[in-house]
């Protein structure tokens, strides 16, 4: 068990953050600014003064033009990228103040991720793909696999645990990705264009599944999207631009 992650270990029983600090926001970001270096010298500001807070169970969509920094904002929130100014608190912990191993541990316990490209490991069975976050959060292999099978069943893939990813369709792969994002019962799910690679009909089903599963577990969802359908399903829609993050 890691000392810097009080909620790690066998008690990954969820929702970790909500259980620990029930009244506090799952995510609180204040005054985030991020600039990137330019090839010819100088820097370009992607966004500045961005603030956002998510309550447990809330679904927030972030829209905006391409290149405005939506994905970068998600990365900063997840501790994968560092803001030039501002702070991100997840479960009351300042992400920027943590060392790399502690940030990794925080992601393993408190966050779930869904990507546009499903990113399912091709050489692991579906059950092992889904069980990975549980292992990284400190659960033993047998429990992790049992929970992975159960979660796969919840996303409509009952009994498919031993299958290999190569035999699945795009929609099925994204179901696996959703199961992986929720299996360790994180307080916050970060989704980057989760339906971008799917046809409209499948996209609708997948979105519904993601939101329903998150709601069942009391997890907040922050979605970056261009899709009006996705935005319409959110409880709040915010638009990111150079001026900041404003209600759409």
């Amino acid at each position: 068990m890691r000392p810097d992650t009080p909620s790690a270990g066998p008690a990954v029983a969820a929702p970790v953050l909500a259980a620990t600090v029930p009244a506090a926001p799952v995510l609180s970001a204040v005054g985030l600014t991020r600039a990137v270096p330019l090839a010819g010298g100088g820097r370009r500001t992607l966004f500045s003064g961005v603030s956002i807070a998510l309550a447990p169970g809330e679904v927030v969509a972030i829209t905006g033009e391409s290149g405005v920094g939506k994905s970068t904002l998600l990365n900063v929130i997840a501790g994968l990228d560092m803001a030039d100014a501002g702070e991100v608190l997840i479960g009351g912990r300042n992400v920027a103040g943590l060392a790399e191993p502690a940030r990794a541990a925080l992601r393993a316990t408190a966050l779930g991720f869904v990507f546009q490209a499903f990113h399912v490991l091709p050489h692991l069975s579906l059950a092992r793909n889904v069980a990975l976050p549980c292992l990284l959060a400190g659960m033993n292999a047998a429990d992790a696999l049992a929970r992975a099978e159960a979660t796969l069943a919840e996303v409509g893939l009952a009994g498919r645990g031993p299958d290999w990813p190569a035999v699945l369709s795009g929609g099925e792969l994204q179901r696996v990705a959703i199961a992986r994002a929720l299996v360790h019962r994180p307080g916050l799910v970060l989704a980057d264009e989760p339906t971008g690679n799917l046809d409209p009909e499948t996209a609708g089903r997948i979105l519904h599944l993601l939101l329903a599963q998150a709601r069942d577990r009391g997890a907040a969802v922050l979605i970056v999207t261009h899709s009006e359908m996705v935005a319409a399903a959110a409880t709040r829609v915010l638009r990111l631009s150079a001026g900041g993050l404003l209600p759409s």
Binding site: N75, L106, R107, L173
Partner: protein
């Protein structure tokens, strides 16, 4: 702990998905470990057998006083030493090189062999070296009714008895010191061990029958307790005696073949080094391919240290499996080699000793650990590179795209090359060219690391100009734009080509130099050499008879004896030659010999081993006294690795009183038939030495010498071939992995209308281009490394120099083969990659 479980899943998944690639990396480590371990096993077994053989001949005395040369010591020393209070017991010994049957050149059917003849006083020897005393089964000094220690009794060691096939009661005719005598086999020297070829007779018989009256070659001593005993004996010794401690004898046995063994071991490690490059290349490609997977793990919460641990664990597993396999293979290989080539791997050092192979557990662990370290070392750089990658970038497939605007750094490689150059200038350490080998390793590492910058530099003109032919244009731009990826594939080619070229050039230079030397040192029409004639050869009357054989224009006689300069070094050859000393010299003195000195030439190994320089005066004990020799020149000598000194025969005879000869060189009259003259010379020889006489004509002697040379280097060629195969496997795996990793790129090209044929042409050109750059870089690097081998490693190991010779046809063929192999592999891998999957790959996840 659970991180390790995840690591286990990921490693198992990777190995299941790519068994061939993983298997090849394991095999590369296994082959390296196997070669290193096998060479070590054979060497140590051979050395141990040789040591046992030497110990058997010496009878395991506390201490021995040895004559500096085969001429022996005055036996008056014996009572002088016996009176010393520090000496508890003393046993005088006559020790002569001897032969039985008819000695013959390799390939001949004649039966015969060399052995050591020992003459002992059994009652004295029982107290000092009881193992040398032949006893009957009952422990009595007699067999049946015959008195054993009288007259013609001889005991044979088990090895000699096996070789001769003689049984007790059989007659045994042997030749020593130019005389022949007949003995009766009384039994076997049971405690002589399996290795020694030796026979024991009574000392008075040895002195009487072989012209050694009043002479001894050795005195074996049993000392009283106390620290001063050795010093007291040392103080009582005359100039022509040397104290031989058991440690000095062991050191001499070790010195005999040390450089050869170390060099073979280093060659074996070259194969392991090449295996290390292959592991690095396989791991680096695997990391590049899996970068998005690692990024995902980072996003999901695997810390960087966890990722590094995972990749090192992969390397460790590769190493463990490879090392275990290598140790097993190595043991089998060692057994096979000992069976086929003998304990010296064809090197000709231990031809008297039979080799018994054991299993050295410590060495097995040592070489296994070396394999592990190699595999881990090959994994470290890719693991750290993977941990440095930003997960978010890599997930979008951006993190692994190098920026063509950024030039690869060249200074670390140049620093390594410079360090290699400096190391090559260093001296030998502990008598071995360790800095020379370090120089080669540094040059190799620097050369391989320089590849990205070099590829960019070499391709810059082509990339600037562009090509109207699309496949060529795409190939050049890819190689120029992503030289780091090219360097991965190149590393295997460069490393194996460089090592191969270095070895090929060294062997070719050595062979050419040996050939030139043979021509230079064999100017006469016919040569005679008496084997095992150290203690006495042809008497003046015999020499005169030979000189009168019809058909001879002239004859030059030579007397060769062995003299010990240092007790822990093998003896040097002193060659006294009639007429002028006409060797082709590598250095000569300007001045004449100072008064009171004898003019002498020394061989390169002697100059190196004892620090003698041209123009200096040094002392040498010959004829029982210190003589002052003026070093008038040095000559190149590949025949005597431990040194040789050449004197005028007249001076030698004046200094020693020894008028015998052991060799002769004949010039024939123009009309004379060599065969007829040789037959006449053979007939003119005294009957006693006819079995020892070996005649040779320069052409056949040269052919035999070169055959022996090639046999000695047979193992070298085999090791070299293995390094090449490992390198080529590396090329094939690197290319196929890279091509398969670029399926999405090919899919895009197909989508925009580039036909499949053109993509294959592009891949073929890329492969051939890479092969050419790699082969030419490897060639250049190999030539530099060959210089280190020729100018540093060989002189420091074997103490001789050689001229550089470049086998251009072989080198050109090598480059062509590599280019064809690289291009062909790329096309074959491309066909696989384009087999329908490529079009889908643009939409694929990864």
């Amino acid at each position: 702990m659970q991180h390790w479980q995840a690591t286990g899943w990921l490693i198992a998944g990777e190995w299941r998905a790519h068994p061939v690639r993983i298997g090849l990396a394991v095999l590369a480590i296994a082959v390296g470990v196997a070669l290193g371990f096998a060479v070590h096993m054979v060497n140590s077994a051979a050395l141990a057998s040789f040591g046992r053989a030497v110990a058997s001949v010496q009878g395991r005395a506390d201490l021995a006083v040895r004559a500096r040369s085969a001429a022996g010591l005055d036996e008056a020393l014996y009572p002088r030493l016996a009176r010393l209070p520090e000496v508890q017991a003393i046993s005088p010994v006559v020790e002569l090189p001897a032969s039985w049957g008819r000695l013959a050149r390799p390939g001949s059917q004649a039966r015969g062999g060399r052995f050591t003849l020992i003459g002992l006083d059994p009652l004295r020897a029982l107290r000092v070296t009881p193992g040398l005393v032949g006893l009957s089964r009952a422990g009595q000094s007699g067999v049946g009714s015959r008195p054993t220690w009288q007259g013609d009794a001889v005991w044979l060691s088990p090895a000699l008895q096996r070789a001769t096939g003689l049984q007790p009661g059989d007659a045994f005719t042997l030749t020593a010191a130019g005389r022949q005598a007949r003995f009766t086999v009384m039994g076997r020297l049971a405690s002589a061990g399996d290795e020694a070829q030796m026979a024991v007779i009574d000392i008075s018989e040895a002195q009487w029958r072989f012209g050694q009256v009043g002479r001894l070659q050795r005195l074996d001593l049993k000392l009283a307790e106390g620290a001063g005993a050795r010093l007291a004996v040392q103080a009582a010794l005359p100039a022509d005696a040397v104290l031989a401690t058991p440690e000095a004898e062991a050191s001499r046995a070790d010195a005999l073949s040390r450089a050869y063994r170390v060099n073979l071991g280093m060659l074996a490690l070259v194969a392991l080094l090449t295996g290390g490059f292959l592991v690095w290349s396989a791991q680096a490609l695997s990391v590049a391919r899996r970068r998005p997977q690692f990024a995902l793990l980072g996003v999901l919460g695997l810390p960087r240290a966890g990722l590094v641990r995972q990749l090192l664990a992969e390397g460790l597993l590769l190493g463990l499996v490879g090392a275990a396999l290598g140790v097993a293979l190595g043991h089998g290989l060692a057994a096979l080699v000992v069976d086929r080539f003998g304990g010296d791997l064809g090197g000709g050092y231990f031809n008297r000793a039979q080799t018994r192979l054991g299993f050295d557990l410590a060495a097995a662990f040592g070489f296994g650990a070396l394999g592990l370290v190699t595999a881990l070392a090959g994994s470290i750089a890719p693991a750290l590179a993977a941990a440095r990658t930003a997960p978010a970038q890599a997930l979008k497939g951006l993190g692994d795209v190098p920026d063509p605007a950024t030039a690869p750094r060249a200074w670390p490689s140049l620093a390594l090359l410079a360090a290699g150059g400096l190391a090559a200038l260093g001296p030998a350490l502990w008598g071995l060219p360790l800095l020379g080998y370090a120089a080669m390793a540094l040059l190799l590492a620097g050369g391989v690391a320089l590849m990205p910058a070099l590829a960019r530099l070499l391709l810059a003109p082509l990339a600037r100009r562009g090509s109207a032919w699309l496949p060529l244009d795409l190939a050049v731009r890819r190689l120029w734009g992503v030289p780091q990826a090219a360097a991965l594939a190149l590393s295997g080619i460069v490393a194996s080509t460089a090592l191969m070229v270095a070895m090929a050039v060294m062997v070719a230079s050595f062979r050419q130099s040996v050939d030139d030397w043979l021509i230079a040192v064999l100017p006469s029409d016919l040569y005679l050499h008496l084997e095992a004639a150290e203690a006495g050869g042809l008497a003046p009357a015999d020499q005169a008879r030979l000189a009168q054989v019809p058909g001879l224009e002239s004859v030059r006689f030579q007397r060769v004896i062995s003299v010990r300069i240092a007790s822990d070094q093998p003896a040097v050859a002193v060659m006294a030659q009639s007429g002028d000393l006409t060797m082709p010299l590598t250095a000569a003195a300007d001045a004449a010999a100072p008064a009171g000195t004898t003019r002498a030439l020394i061989s390169e190994p002697l100059a190196w081993l004892y620090g003698w320089r041209v123009g200096e005066v040094h002392s040498l004990v010959i004829g029982g006294q210190q003589r002052r020799l003026y070093v008038a020149g040095t000559w190149r000598d590949y025949a005597r690795q431990w040194g040789a000194i050449m004197l005028p025969l007249a001076d030698y005879r004046r200094l020693t009183g020894d008028v015998t000869a052991t060799e002769a060189a004949f010039e024939l009259k123009a009309a004379a038939d060599a065969q007829t003259v040789q037959a006449a010379l053979q007939a003119a020889l005294p009957a006693a030495v006819q079995g020892q006489a070996q005649f040779g004509r320069p052409a056949e002697m040269r052919a035999v010498a070169l055959t022996i040379f090639d046999r000695s280097f047979a193992v070298t060629y085999a090791l070299e071939a293995i390094a090449i195969i490992i390198g080529l496997i590396g090329v094939a795996t690197s290319f196929s992995a890279q091509v398969l990793a670029r399926m999405r790129e090919f899919g895009m090209l197909r989508h925009v209308g580039v036909p499949r044929r053109q993509i294959l042409q592009m891949l073929g050109l890329e492969g051939a281009g890479l092969g050419l750059i790699g082969a030419l870089s490897g060639l250049s690097l190999g030539l530099v490394m060959a210089l280190v081998l020729v100018r540093v490693v060989n002189p420091q190991s074997f103490h001789w120099t050689m001229d550089l010779a470049l086998p251009w046809p072989l080198l050109a063929g090598l480059v062509a083969a590599l280019v064809i192999c690289a291009g062909g592999t790329a096309v074959i891998a491309g066909r696989r990659a384009l087999g329908g999957q490529a079009l889908l790959a643009v939409r694929a996840d990864w």
